[in-house]
Structures are given as C-alpha cells and as structure tokens.
C-alpha cells in the first residue's frame, strides 16, 4: 500500500530524513518510533504531500506522492501532530466542511457525519465550538476528520498525546479496529503504545532507520536477554556458585539482603526458556526457601535506548 524509496528531506543544513526506504502492506499497523526530532513527522508530512521530498520517491495506494499528489491526498486520512482544527467552527459544521472538501456527495454527507459522531463519541459536544473543547475531544474531532471519507490509509502523528489514560486506551482500541482492513502508520514516543497497537515497528533515529521488524524481531535484534529476580533464604554459602552452574545463566549478581534472611539475586540469561524451572529445581535439591521469582524480558524501551544511543556513540 505504501512504498518508500530513498526518501530524503533537508531543511537548510539539517538533514531531517536521510535516505529512508520501507514498505507497508494492507492491514498492517506500522509504528514510527523515535526520539523527538528524529524525522518521524517529516516523513509523515512527505507521505501526506504536505512537504515535497528533496530526493527519492514514494507511492501511496499506488500513486506517486509528487506526480499524483491529489490522488494520494484523496485516499489518505491524516491527523497532524496536536490535531490542529479550525477553532471558530462548531463540531458538526467542521465535519461538514471536511466532507465538502473531500467531495463526499451531499446525500451521503449527513449519514457519514452521524457515523463519525457516533464512532468517535462526539454526541455530547456536536453543537459546541471546537475551540472550547477539551484536549481529548479535540483529538477525537481530529480523528473523526481523518476517517470521514473512509480512507484506505491512515497516517496519525502522535494520536494519543494529551489524552488521559482511559481515553488513550479507547483511541488505541479504535486504531486497532480500524487497522484491521486498512493501512495505518502512527508515530509515537510512548513505547507501550507500540506494543499495544502496532504489528510492525520502525525505529527512526537522526533521520535514518535504526531498526525495523515486529516487536519480537526487534527483541532478538537487540540481543535479547532476560533477567530473573529471585529471593532465596538459606544457610548454604555456595548459593551464588550453584546458581551460576545453571546451564544458560551468564551472570549472577547479589542485589540486596532482604528481611527475614532472604537475599535477592539477579540472573541474566540469553536463552531464558527454562532458567526459571532450573532455579526452582536447584532450590528444591538444596533445600533453599524461595519467596520471590520473576522474569523480565528486555522491553521495547531497552531496545529503543540501546539502538538509539548506539547510533550516537558510533
């Protein structure tokens, strides 16, 4: 649905997007992840025809973003960062304006607007002036605006900023639902959001793609390592020694002495599969008491930090 080849954009001397290439297929929800100023917004602005690329090409829904810009814009629903809206209009006339400019026939206009009001939960504010709405409602009006023409492709720039936790969950559910039969690109720097909504992730840093893949793939790219925390009570002096002997464990660290004679250890393992079981077995064999055992996989957050800081130090 979207195919990007060697896209580059510079502003003065800063290279905002440097030679980016990627593909997005129908039914995929692609997450752009990256620190502020990484080039996420610039890339989106080029795909929505707001900015012209300096070099490289991209096709959206089969149309070139430079040569067939109007065709592209007809098929894309775009929610810019901070959801800018015409603040002096009321919600319904704003949606009417969008419907008009999108060329929705007048006999269908009212039905579409009603549907958008329903989907985006705007019923209670339909007659209010957009400028007076809360951030959450503005974001929803913005979302209604991007969906009103039933676009094949949705491009959402930080769709959940400024929303409260329950609204965030709602919007994420909505995006997931929409993403089933459409193509969605969304940008964010909130990492759990990517895990919750995206089928594929593109980590962008300093205008370049630092990594791409499913969240699981990224995990292995970053040399995924699991951490096990275990709290043990025993008189055995060789605990650390015995823990280290467990097959896949690479490192054992004593973390802290807890109450009631328990001590917490941290075990790091590349192949986390059965480490938990083996810790349990070792405890049974040696008669240790355990009152805590949990596993932490490398989160997207760690991967993100690892990839974006590695880039910088090189």
């Amino acid at each position: 649905m979207i195919s990007v080849k060697n896209l580059t954009k510079t502003f003065g001397r800063t290279v905002a997007v440097n030679n980016i290439s990627f593909e997005v297929n129908r039914g995929e929800v692609l997450g752009f992840l990256g620190p502020n100023g990484a080039g996420k917004t610039t890339t989106m602005r080029m795909l929505t025809c707001y900015l012209m690329p300096d070099s490289g090409t991209a096709t959206v829904a089969g149309y070139d973003i430079v040569d067939d810009s109007l065709e592209v814009r007809k098929r894309v629903g775009y929610l810019p960062e901070n959801a800018p809206l015409y603040l002096d209009m009321d919600v319904v006339s704003y949606l009417e304006f969008v419907a008009d400019i999108r060329g929705i026939p007048s006999n269908e206009k009212l039905r579409r607007i009603k549907r958008m009001v329903e989907i985006c939960g705007l019923g209670s504010v339909a007659g209010r002036t957009v400028g007076q709405l809360s951030k959450g409602f503005k974001q929803r009006v913005g979302l209604a605006q991007t969906l009103i023409h039933d676009p094949e492709i949705l491009i959402l720039d930080e769709p959940t900023t400024g929303l409260d936790p329950s609204q965030i969950i709602e919007i994420r559910e909505l995006i997931k639902e929409i993403g089933k039969e459409r193509t969605v690109i969304l940008s964010t720097h909130i990492l759990p959001e990517v895990e919750a909504t995206c089928s594929r992730v593109l980590i962008i840093n300093e205008g370049e793609i630092a990594a791409s893949g499913t969240p699981e793939e990224l995990h292995s790219v970053a040399g995924g390592e699991d951490s096990f925390y275990v709290a043990i009570k025993t008189q055995d002096a060789q605990v650390e020694e015995k823990l280290r002997r467990i097959a896949a464990v690479r490192e054992v660290k004593k973390l802290a002495d807890l109450e009631e004679g328990y001590t917490r250890y941290l075990l790091k393992s590349k192949d986390g599969g059965s480490v938990g079981e083996q810790i349990f077995k070792a405890a049974v064999e040696n008669g240790w008491m355990i009152n805590e055992l949990h596993r932490e996989t490398l989160s997207l957050e760690d991967i993100f930090l690892k990839l974006t800081t590695k880039e910088k130090s090189e």
């Binding site: 929505t48 809206l85 209009m89 304006f97 969008v98 008009d100 400019i101 060329g103 605006q145």
Partner: protein
C-alpha cells in the same frame, strides 16, 4: 470548483463566527458616512464624488484587516497542514480564500448604498457617476485584497501581515500620483503612472469606465493571486 466553494464557504462563515465582522462593518460604515456627510452639507451638492475619493483611503486600512488572518492564522494554528493535505490544489485554496474576502468586501460596499439612497433623496445625483464609482471601488478593493492576501501568506503573524499590507498597498496606490511622478526620472514616470493603483481609479470613479482600466485591475489581481499560489508551493 466544489472544493473552491468549500474553502469559500468556510472562510466566509468564519468572518461571521466572531463579532469582528459586525464591528468591522459598523465602524466602516460609520466612518465613511461621517467623513462623507461632514463635507457633503458644506458643499451642498448632491454628488458622491467625495465619497469615492475617500474610499481608497479607508480601504487602505480596512482591506488588510480583512485579509490579514486568511493565511497567517492557518499557519499559526497549524491548520495549514490540514488544508494542504486535503485534496485541494493550491490554486483552489487561494481562490476560495480570495473569493471569501471579496464577498465580505462586497457586503461592506453594498451597505454603503445607504449613503447613495440618502444622497438621491436629497437631490439629483448623476447615476452614471455613482455606478462608475462603485465599479471603481469594487475593482480597487479587489486589487487591494489580492495584495493583502499574498502578504498574509508570507508570515504567521497577523499584525505583521496587517502592517506590511498597509505599507505595500499604500506604495502601489500612490505610485501613479502626480506628486510621486514629479520626483522620479522622466523615463520611468510613464511606468509608474501605469502601475499606480490610484491613477486608474480616478478615471473610473469619474464615471469613465474604460476597458483598459478594468483589464489593468484584473491583471493586478491575477498577478498577486499567482504570487500567492507560488509562495505556498515554495514552502512545500
């Protein structure tokens, strides 16, 4: 066309979404009426000539007030990004905005017909002269609007847009003035006199409607709307 209409409708409605439109029209009409009738009763002649002489000077400040927000506000609020990613061409967007400001100006000019009615009730004015005066006012108003709209596209600050527009319109207006022509070298004087917005206005408002003057104003409008489209394209 339907997309130009959508932009037009939004812009035109947005003048009336705030009290500004009503304040604007009241002040415009009040000021024009007061300045006109102040002299009218002294001269004691049923003519609107002094009104049409006055009008460009009122437009000098009132037209930039109409156009200053048209692009500057879009840029400031960020809706520019929306508008430019909707399936409208840059030309359609510029035309929609221009026509909306033009329609608003027409309403303002239309309200001043009250003055014509008063004059007609008090004496026997020359209808040809009044007609010519209105044609001239509409043409010079359109030219001013196109300049103001273009300048609004260069900044995101409405105040800057207003002040720069006033200065630019002033310069174009007095370019063909005798006073200016005296001060420039002889060879360039005809150019100035042709380009000046004011020189063409004088003959029309006297009731002499010459196609050359009409073509001149339409070219000025076309030229600045073209610049406007280009200035938007350049920022993409």
């Amino acid at each position: 066309m339907s997309r130009t209409l959508a932009v037009f409708k939004r812009e035109f409605a947005s003048y009336f979404n705030s009290p500004i439109a009503y304040i604007y029209m009241t002040v415009f009409l009040g000021l024009a009426g007061w300045l006109f009738f102040k002299g009218f009763f002294l001269v004691g002649e049923a003519s609107m000539r002094s009104f049409f002489g006055l009008l460009p000077w009122l437009f000098l400040f009132f037209v930039p007030a109409i156009t200053m927000r048209l692009w500057a506000e879009e840029k400031k609020v960020g809706t520019m990004e929306l508008l430019m990613t909707f399936p409208v061409t840059d030309t359609e967007a510029v035309m929609g905005k221009f026509l909306a400001s033009f329609a608003f100006l027409l309403v303002s000019i239309g309200l001043s017909l009250v003055l014509a009615i008063v004059v007609a009730a008090l004496g026997n004015p020359d209808p040809g002269e009044i007609f010519g005066g209105y044609v001239g006012a509409i043409l010079i108003g359109a030219a001013f609007l196109s300049i103001g709209l273009f300048i609004s596209s260069l900044t995101e600050n409405q105040i800057v847009a207003f002040i720069v527009s006033v200065v630019a319109i002033f310069v174009f207006f007095i370019l063909g003035d005798d006073f200016v022509l005296m001060g420039v070298p002889n060879w360039i004087a005809p150019v100035f006199s042709f380009l000046g917005l004011g020189a063409h206005y004088d003959s029309i408002s006297r009731g002499v409607i010459d196609t050359r003057d009409i073509i001149y104003y339409l070219s000025v409008v076309g030229f600045f709307l073209y610049l406007n489209v280009k200035s938007i394209q350049l920022k993409r």
